[in-house]
């Protein structure tokens, strides 16, 4: 949906996308730009979170868009276009990681140990972080860094669920795992990120901020 078209409820947006897809498959390629425009940023964000490198992420996002164009006729309208698109990007990112790491020892991304209880670290004083904190480049970098420090299997699930807002069922489909695995990995991802970020979130960042804006408790 182009900016400035006014509020559109999502069913209308899906109809709108379906019509755009029809036009693209009928040979009117220019409609494709409009179709992908709302998802460009999301594709890059997902690719960046998975590949941890800007240049690779940009190339991966571009490649995913080209593939989506190439295979648009294979898109089935019973699934959501956004989910289909993100699935292509995830597959593309996975392929690249395989290539990157084919000669290196990479930690094995298995579910072993996931079933056991993860004990979150103890932080006594926790503050709610106002979302304005995100205006600061340094905070966004800290968040990206923390995300890059959790294992790939957790990162994939977290990126789809909490950044791309994909449903549990669609995340399971996109990654080829069960919904139970989605939930377990998501739990672990969120706990690990909370532990990685807690020292900053609970203390330093909000204290800095409190000088200017006051901190929500």
């Amino acid at each position: 949906m182009a900016a400035g078209t006014g509020p559109l409820e999502s069913p209308a947006q899906q109809d709108y996308e379906a019509r755009l897809i029809q036009r693209v498959t009928a040979g009117e390629h220019e409609a494709f730009y409009e179709l992908i425009q709302p998802y460009e940023k999301r594709l890059f964000a997902a690719a960046f979170a998975l590949l941890r490198n800007q240049a690779d992420a940009e190339d991966c996002a571009q490649e995913a868009v080209l593939k989506a164009f190439k295979y648009i006729r294979q898109f089935r309208s019973e699934s959501k276009f956004s989910t289909w698109l993100i699935q292509i990007a995830v597959n593309e990112a996975r392929k690249r990681r395989k290539k990157q790491y084919s000669n290196l020892m990479e930690p094995i991304d298995q579910d072993h140990g996931v079933e056991g209880t993860y004990s979150p670290r103890e932080f006594a004083d926790w503050r709610e972080i106002p979302s304005e904190t995100l205006e600061r480049q340094e905070v966004r970098e800290k968040l990206a860094e923390a995300l890059s420090n959790i294992g790939q299997i957790y990162r994939e699930v977290f990126v789809l669920r909490d950044m791309e807002q994909v449903s549990i069922e669609d995340t399971a489909k996109a990654l080829g795992i069960s919904t139970a695995s989605v939930k377990t990995r998501l739990l672990r991802a969120r706990l690990m990120l909370r532990d990685l970020l807690a020292p900053g979130l609970g203390g330093a960042w909000s204290r800095d901020l409190s000088l200017g804006h006051g901190v929500k408790r």
Partner: protein, 180 residues
């Protein structure tokens, strides 16, 4: 039902996604009241979901969109690109304008969701993390196909969404609406 800290740590993520049954939900809420450590875990996880779900985390490098379109254009030029094709495109852009008008009128004919909000508060678990669009009227679970314009989304607790005047989505929040 009484739960331990360990159980709480296993369920906290599903709890925030609204994926636990009412009995477990009540047990978690009871446990958190008396446990500082678990309160910190819950608040911390809620913060994580909220921060990463914010649109501001979606930064792209300068010129990203332009380079993407250039590459796409080069790719498409291998495909069919005739004068007729351009004519069709021009005609279709008029059709797009028409489609937007149709979509707009269907929105304006909808009942006012804000008025429904006054009847529907207190039914959705207040701590559940939900998705709102800045210029939307309703809040949703992640992945709901009825999420409004996907370009400006935030992830916030349900009670905050209700405070900000959002009403529960009648589709994805149906179970809470029916339960009342």
């Amino acid at each position: 039902m009484i739960i331990s800290c360990e159980q709480m740590w296993r369920e906290v993520s599903d709890y925030l996604d609204g994926e636990v049954d009412p009995e477990l939900r009540a047990a978690i809420e009871e446990h958190v009241k008396g446990c500082q450590r678990c309160t910190a875990v819950l608040d911390g996880m809620r913060n994580v979901i909220q921060l990463y779900g914010d649109e501001r985390m979606m930064e792209v490098p300068v010129g990203f969109s332009r380079r993407l379109h250039q590459r796409l254009e080069a790719d498409m030029s291998h495909s069919r690109r005739t004068f007729l094709g351009w004519m069709v495109a021009a005609a279709a852009s008029l059709a797009v304008a028409g489609a937007i008008e149709v979509a707009r009128s269907s929105v304006s004919s909808r009942p006012n969701l804000r008025s429904e909000h006054s009847r529907s508060s207190n039914r959705v678990p207040p701590d559940m993390m939900v998705i709102v669009a800045d210029d939307g009227k309703t809040f949703h679970v992640a992945g709901c196909p009825f999420i409004h314009d996907k370009t400006r989304l935030r992830t916030i607790p349900a009670h905050q969404a209700e405070q900000e005047g959002y009403a529960p989505c009648v589709r994805c929040m149906k179970k809470y609406l029916d339960a009342a």
